[in-house]
């Protein structure tokens, strides 16, 4: 784009979006369609897709929500790498042509919409929630659990997962094995295994350390490379393997689950709190 049209839109250049189109109800096979998009500074790939939908083709489908890299909906295969469309500026891709396809290793529902059911199914297998032996306390909690800052720091990195599926689409093992739990599920399993409030290690480890669990990881590290939140699933998997190795030698650090902190109804119930000084300004009434 150049001349008066570029001035009108404020665009800095035109980039060709090569987008995979596929409607299983109509199309025999996926095809690539080209759309020239006037690109402005700070415009994201998601903005480019929205521009196409508004100006060129309203039937183009994809999934997106927050536009700020928080919800994990807009995972796509952009210029040969799984990325969030909202988290990548077009000018930062340094290319006059952007190829956008749905995430690999997932079935296509339509156009750029992947079927994430596989990921959520694998996620469920690792029981991604706190498990307590005291089922009554778990179902009807009477208070909060103790947890120190250090205990929180041990797992917080792995808790930043937004379930975008980028790690699964980048994983070479997931590409060949339908049974592999995958980096997302294994990381979440390990995240709860590290949580001191959790007592479900035995139930969860049956999946994490199964024949299709952590031991099938080739440590390609692609999952950590593409993760938009810095979760580092490869690290979680290696830590789990290390834990299992020392467990085999009976050298695993024993974890003790934290207990429920006693509920404090009023500040006055806590001993040792000094009494508030008398008001220096006369109180009304």
């Amino acid at each position: 784009m150049s001349g008066p049209q570029a001035k009108e839109t404020g665009s800095v250049k035109t980039v060709v979006f090569e987008v995979l189109r596929y409607d299983p109800a109509k199309d025999r096979a996926p095809r690539l369609e080209e759309y020239p998009v006037p690109v402005t500074k700070a415009m994201t790939v998601l903005d480019g897709l929205l521009w196409i939908k508004e100006h060129k083709d309203p039937t183009l489908s994809w999934r997106s929500s927050c536009r700020m890299g928080m919800c994990g909906s807009c995972g796509m295969f952009i210029n040969g790498l799984p990325r969030l469309a909202c988290n990548n500026q077009i000018v930062h891709l340094h290319s006059s042509r952007i190829t956008i396809k749905p995430l690999p290793n997932f079935d296509i529902i339509r156009d750029l919409v992947p079927d994430l059911e596989r990921m959520f199914g694998l996620h469920r297998t690792v029981k991604p929630y706190l498990i307590r032996r005291d089922r009554a306390e778990q179902n009807h909690p009477t208070g909060e659990y103790y947890q120190s800052q250090q205990e929180l720091a041990d797992y917080i990195q792995f808790a930043y997962c937004i379930k975008c599926g980028l790690c699964l689409s980048a994983c070479p093992t997931v590409a060949t094995s339908r049974s592999f739990t995958g980096p997302q599920g294994l990381t979440q399993g390990w995240r709860y295994a590290l949580d001191t409030r959790d007592e479900g290690a035995a139930e969860r480890e049956a999946e994490i350390f199964s024949e299709h669990g952590v031991y099938r990881c080739h440590f390609a590290g692609a999952c950590s490379h593409v993760c938009p939140k810095g979760v580092d699933p490869a690290l979680a998997i290696q830590l789990a393997k290390k834990d299992a190795f020392f467990g085999s030698l009976s050298l695993r650090k024993k974890r003790r689950a934290t207990s429920v902190a006693p509920t404090v109804q009023h500040g006055a119930d806590v001993k040792g709190i000094p009494k508030a000084p008398e008001p220096t300004v006369p109180q009304k009434g």
Binding site: F180, A206, F209, S210, G213, Y215, R216, K241, A244, S248
Partner: protein, 122 residues
Amino acid sequence: MRESKLWFWHILSAVVILVFLGIHMGIMHLDAILWALGIGSGDPVRSADVFRRSRQLFFMVTYVILLGSALFHGLYGFRSMLWELSLPRAVEKAVGGACALAGFALFIYGSYVAVAVFRMGR
């Protein structure tokens, strides 16, 4: 967790292979240096020297340990590769069983050869 135990032995066998294969490579390729250091065991490939080494307890034990470690390590890795092909569960089990059987049979046969040569002429 059976898989954790198998993987533990997989890692341990890798370390064993590293040590014993190191000894093997040293004897095969560094014979001149070993000879100069006074710990040489003769020509690496001359038939008489090979037999002489095989009749020593140290080498017989070395061969059996190396054989067992290499078989376990290799076949576990082979099974893992096949299991990544999304095979049906029954086929996976059959592959695992075949690898275990093959490993066991080869270990028995190889150990028999090592022990038989060790006992030769005694």
